[in-house]
């Protein structure tokens, strides 16, 4: 929508955007630029380089790219985002929205309520809850499964944090898809069903083309959030032996535990670039879809 229906005018529009932009500029853009600068120095938490950091150019970047732990960490992060955000949250969120769409009454309210509750509970509280669930000696899960002493967080660290993040974040996708599914006319689904289309066929031919924009927005947001999510640190601390050390935890270890603030800042900038690639890929898909719609609207054959 680009029509200025309320007669806002350029001047007022700028005045409306300005306060938000000013705050973002001071507390987001400025620290980000500072981080980029720090990435070019040998700034440290303690010692000589803490008082008087020297510019070292691109050393931090070449160092990070050659560090096998960085590449392992990047691979773990991709598995974490793919497993917990794209397959887990988006998949489970869509399935729930699809199953619940036609239902009303207590079942729907209870399921939505419980899923949303896991999203709304404070992160610090949630950390303790999952600790109590997965603890090796006294965890509830081991008590239920009669597997005393099974160390979930040590034997399956990556799987544990993936399932944890599915639990934590599915609500957002569920809500977004529930809203999106309301844009699909029930009559179209009914027609497809009467024509004998199975559920996967209905989804492919009737539902997905209509909610593609929502799917892409959702995937973009949850991928970015999951990629930069530090919460798994509460559960595994990145261990054992770095087997759940996703990139935000890696940055924390390099910058704060090892005290190499400059290197940490450089890695943060690399993470930003990787996220940029993600975002551009999504935008590409989004734009491709818009062109398709225009062709369809013009009466041309669906590309």
């Amino acid at each position: 929508m680009n029509t200025d229906a309320a007669g806002l005018g350029k001047g007022r529009a700028v005045a409306f955007v300005l306060p938000a932009l000013a705050l973002i500029a001071v507390f987001l853009v400025f620290p980000a630029l500072w981080t980029i600068y720090l990435g070019l120095t040998d700034y440290r938490l303690t010692g000589l380089a803490a008082a008087n950091p020297q510019v070292v150019g691109l050393d931090n970047y070449t160092g990070a790219l050659e560090d096998p732990r960085f590449l392992t960490s990047l691979w773990l992060t991709i598995l974490y985002v793919g497993g917990s955000a794209i397959i887990g949250q988006a998949g489970l969120g869509f399935t729930l929205a699809w199953i619940l769409r036609a239902r009303t009454g207590p079942v729907r309210r209870i399921v939505e309520g419980v899923v949303l509750l896991s999203w709304i509970l404070p992160s610090t509280v949630v950390g303790f809850l999952w600790f109590a669930l997965l603890d090796r000696d006294e965890g509830t899960l081991n008590a239920l499964l009669h597997t005393p002493g099974f160390a979930w967080l040590l034997d399956y660290p990556l799987l544990s944090i993936i399932i944890f993040n599915v639990w934590r974040g599915t609500a957002f996708s569920m809500m977004l898809y529930a809203a999106a599914l309301e844009n699909v006319p029930p009559s179209h689904l009914e027609t497809a069903r009467l024509a004998g289309a199975s559920v996967p066929q209905q989804l492919r031919d009737v539902v997905f083309p209509r909610i593609r924009r929502h799917i892409l927005t959702n995937l973009l947001l949850i991928s970015l959030w999951t990629f930069n999510d530090f919460t798994p640190f509460v559960l595994t601390g990145g261990g054992p032996e770095g087997r759940s050390e996703i990139l935000p935890v890696y940055v924390y270890r390099v910058a704060l535990r090892d005290g190499q603030l400059g290197v940490g800042a450089a890695i943060s900038f690399l993470i930003l670039l990787i996220n940029l690639v993600f975002a551009l890929a999504y935008l590409r898909l989004l734009r491709g879809q818009r062109r398709q719609q225009e062709v369809a609207a013009a009466g041309g054959p669906p590309a």
Binding site: L8, F16, V17, A20, L23, V29, W34, L121, V125, M175
Partner: protein
């Protein structure tokens, strides 16, 4: 017919498994606070309310919930107000490079709010004299939440029809009147959703609150929760579980209130 019954059965089974999956971790929060001798295992409690008396004796517990209310409420109000104005203007007036700018800010916010910009933010807050102030926490977390809030709200505003604004304009309403009497009521569910989302993020936030506040009198509950250990470093489960429950109640109450009153959803009030 058989296919229909099977589909129905699968759906019901799926709902049951999902419910179990989402409820299981929360059971501890319902049992341990009332247990005389809580352990990590979820069990039927030996009922007592003594843990609540014990947590109220902690000098910082109640005050920290008040601090969380100030910081979370302040940030949520600021996020909603600034994001709504910006999202409306961006939705209705064509600004060159608008989408690119939004995506870039969204990207920055998700990377920077992690551990990345911790040092610059600490130094910035020190120089602006914002250390140990509620305002410092509010401004820093608001800066991090705003891009996503504008992004989601703009989607929301794009979906609401402009015909109401057009007719109000025909009848001579000023842009500000239109905003107050037409646009805000239309997008109220969106504003409420963003408010709950912002409050819930700040409520559980730990990192920035931990760096920016030295004085335990000003610390929010999410930081105080990590102080409930014995001198030997063992977690005091009776205090941790009880405080976790108390600390969760305000956000849950706010969510229930908002979803009752405005609906909790991600789309416009009126269909085109």
């Amino acid at each position: 017919m058989i296919r229909h019954v099977l589909g129905r059965l699968t759906a019901t089974l799926f709902i049951a498994v999902t419910l179990a999956f989402f409820t299981l971790p929360m059971l501890w929060l319902a049992s341990a606070p009332f247990d005389d001798t809580p352990t990590i295992t979820t069990s039927i409690p030996e009922f007592t309310l003594r843990n609540f008396a014990a947590i109220l004796d902690n000098p910082y517990a109640l005050g920290s919930i008040r601090n969380s209310l100030i910081q979370g409420g302040g940030a949520a109000a600021l996020v909603v107000a600034l994001a709504a104005l910006a999202a409306y203007a961006l939705s209705r007036v064509r600004v060159p490079g608008r989408d690119a700018l939004l995506y870039l800010l969204l990207l920055l916010s998700s990377v920077v709010t992690g551990t990345a910009a911790m040092v610059p933010i600490f130094e910035l807050a020190t120089r602006l004299d914002l250390i140990d102030t509620h305002l410092g926490v509010i401004l820093v977390v608001t800066g991090g939440l705003l891009p996503a809030a504008i992004f989601i709200l703009k989607d929301f505003m794009d979906e609401t029809p402009t015909s109401y604004e057009e007719s109000a304009r025909v009848f001579g309403a000023s842009p500000l009147q239109i905003l107050r009497h037409i646009v805000i009521p239309l997008v109220r569910p969106g504003l409420a959703t963003i408010a709950v989302w912002a409050l819930a993020s700040v409520w559980g936030g730990f990192l920035f609150q931990f760096i920016l506040l030295r004085d335990p009198e000003k610390a929010p509950g999410s930081v105080i929760l990590y102080t409930l250990y014995t001198e030997g470093g063992a977690p005091r489960l009776e205090l941790i579980s009880t405080f976790s429950l108390l600390y969760s109640l305000p956000v849950v109450a706010m969510y229930l209130f908002v979803s009752q009153r405005y609906g909790f959803r991600f789309h416009g009030g009126i269909k085109r």
